[in-house]
Every structure is written in C-alpha cells, then in structure tokens.
C-alpha cells in the first residue's frame, strides 16, 4: 500500500472512531445534568431561573467536549495536513 491509501484510510477510520467515542461521554454527561436539573426544578420551582441559567452554561461546557471531537473529525476529513503533504507535488 502506498502512502496515499494508508493516510486516507487511517484518516477516515479515525474520524469515525473519534466522533463515535467522543459523543458517548458528553451524551451521558448531558443526560445526567438535565436529569439532576429537572429534579431540582421539581423540588424548588422558585429557583428555576437560576437553575436553568446554570444548566445552560453547564450544558454548553459539557457539549464543548463533543464539539472538540467534531472539530478534530472535520480537520481529519477536510483539512488533513498529512493528506495535503502527500498529494501535493514534492517540494511544494
């Protein structure tokens, strides 16, 4: 196998793996956070404004973990530096 097929194969395979594994953790985390927030709102409806605000900030932070994986996936597929290095003519 030449360099191009190895790099292409590894990039696509790793991209799929990255987004697959990388979305499991945040999914569990967000589910847990929302469940806790819902029970907190059920117990203290008066505090729902504060709870919702903190929940949104927290959710965005948890979700950013998944977003990092997504960014890595996009780089692997669309802007892979190794791929560019191999496909460009030598010396370029």
């Amino acid at each position: 196998m030449d360099d191009i097929s190895i790099i292409g194969m590894a990039s696509i395979f790793t991209a799929g793996l990255t987004i697959a594994i990388g979305s499991i953790g945040p999914a569990f985390g967000e589910a847990r956070a929302v469940a806790q927030a819902l029970s907190a709102i059920a117990q203290q409806p008066d505090e729902s404004a504060t709870i919702t605000r903190t929940l949104f900030v927290g959710l965005a932070m948890i979700e950013s973990t998944a977003i990092y994986c997504f960014v890595v996936t996009m780089i692997l597929i669309f802007a892979n530096p190794f791929w560019d290095y191999v496909t460009k003519p030598a010396g370029g």
Binding site: V57, S64, F78
Partner: protein, 234 residues
C-alpha cells in the same frame, strides 16, 4: 465544500486579500455602530420613548442584570466589554437568516481574536481592582507548586473559549450543508433554526464565561464570597 468563511475570497491584491470573514465582521460592526448611533443621538428621558430606544434599554439593563447575578458586583465597568462581546457574537450568529451571509464566528480567526480579548481583559480588570502584586499572588495560591497549573489553566481555557464558539457555529453550517445534499427543503430549515438557537446560547455562554473569569480574577481572592458560577473549566 467550504468549511470556513476564510476560504471565500472577494477581492485580492497581491498579499492582501479580503475574505468573507473580514467583510462580514465589518458588516456586523457597521450595523451595531449605526443602529446604536441612530438610536442614541436623540434619546429622550421622558415617558414617550421610541421603540428602538426601548429595545436598547431592555438589552443594556438585561445584560447588566445578568452580570450582577453572576459576579455579585455592580456591572458598571464590566458592562461595555462583556456587553460588546455578547452583542457582537449574537448579531453575527443571528444574521445567519440572511441568505448568502456567512457567520464570521464560524472562522477560527474571529473566535481566537475574541478569546484573546478575554485573555487580555482578565489581568487588566484584576490588576485594576486589586493592584499588580495582589493579582500576581493568586497564581501561587494555594501553594507555589500550583504555579504551572494555574498558567496552563489560563491558556487552556482561552483555547477552549475559542474552539467552543468556532465548533458550535461551524458544526451548524456543515450539518446544513450535508443535509442539503441528502434531504433538501425541510430538514435543513429545522437545523438552521436549531443553529439560530445554538448561536444565541453560545453568545450568552461566551459573555457569561468572560464575566466569570473576570469575576474570579477581581473578587474571589480578597477573602470575600466567591461568585456563584466560579467553577473552573477545562
């Protein structure tokens, strides 16, 4: 498929190129400045106010209230910086409803610039409120051993701030582009709506996080009560 507005070049002259990021950043800046100038150059303090003045008052007092709730201090000197961050990001994401517009926040350069603004503003506010020595002292708290970790934390949270905003906006654009080729007409619109919601939430998060970082540099170490949202991130 273009994943960054940096790649869309409108005009090029030698080394200088004018890409979509710069142009649409200027559009957003011009809109914000123009609307604010038009509204504020004839303010009235009576009961009979124009609806635009009403809108601006709601925005400014709303941002002020949020800052007060997060930092437990008066929003006065933080309001211009945090409010500008929020308004810029919110308008940049909101204009996505206009066809042909590419959100400048979907480019890593814009979000990095915004995150660096926060990175610089935190020590400025910290030093202004408690003096250079007291500010520097909080890098060696609780012990001197924590010095490298505090510095790493400062840098990594700046990167996280930039990549979070960039990733959220960029993912919205890419998902719409992919869906357009698979199931046109309906689902892209739904995802576009979701993108609008995400954009507003991200603008809010960015401003709140900037405020939390500033608050933790200004208030948390004078023995007072730490602000309520001062959880350290990444």
């Amino acid at each position: 498929m273009t994943i960054s507005p940096d790649d869309v070049v409108f005009w090029q002259w030698g080394m200088i190129s004018l890409n979509a990021t710069i142009v649409y950043t200027w559009v957003v800046m011009a809109l914000l400045t123009l609307i604010s100038w038009l509204v504020t150059h004839r303010l009235s303090s009576g009961t009979d106010i124009s609806r635009w003045q009403n809108l601006l008052e709601v925005l400014v007092t709303g941002i002020g209230d949020q800052i007060r709730e997060v930092s437990h201090t008066e929003p006065g000197k933080y309001l211009p910086f945090v409010g500008t961050l929020f308004l810029f990001i919110a308008l940049a994401n909101l204009l996505n409803v206009i066809p042909g517009y590419l959100a400048p926040t979907g480019s890593l350069s814009t979000t990095t610039a915004l995150a660096i603004c926060v990175f610089v503003a935190v020590p400025i506010y910290g030093i202004a409120s408690q003096g250079p020595l007291n500010y520097l002292k909080h890098y060696i708290k609780p012990t001197v051993l924590m010095l490298p970790f505090n510095i790493i934390g400062e840098i990594s949270r700046t990167i996280a701030l930039a990549v979070r905003l960039y990733g959220n906006i960029m993912s919205g654009t890419v998902i719409v582009a992919i869906l357009l080729s698979l199931t046109p007409y309906f689902f892209p619109i739904v995802m576009q709506l979701l993108g609008l919601l995400t954009g507003m939430i991200q603008a809010y998060i960015f401003a709140i996080l900037a405020m939390v970082y500033i608050a933790s540099a200004t208030t948390a170490h004078d023995g007072g009560e730490p602000p309520e949202n001062s959880q350290e991130t990444q």
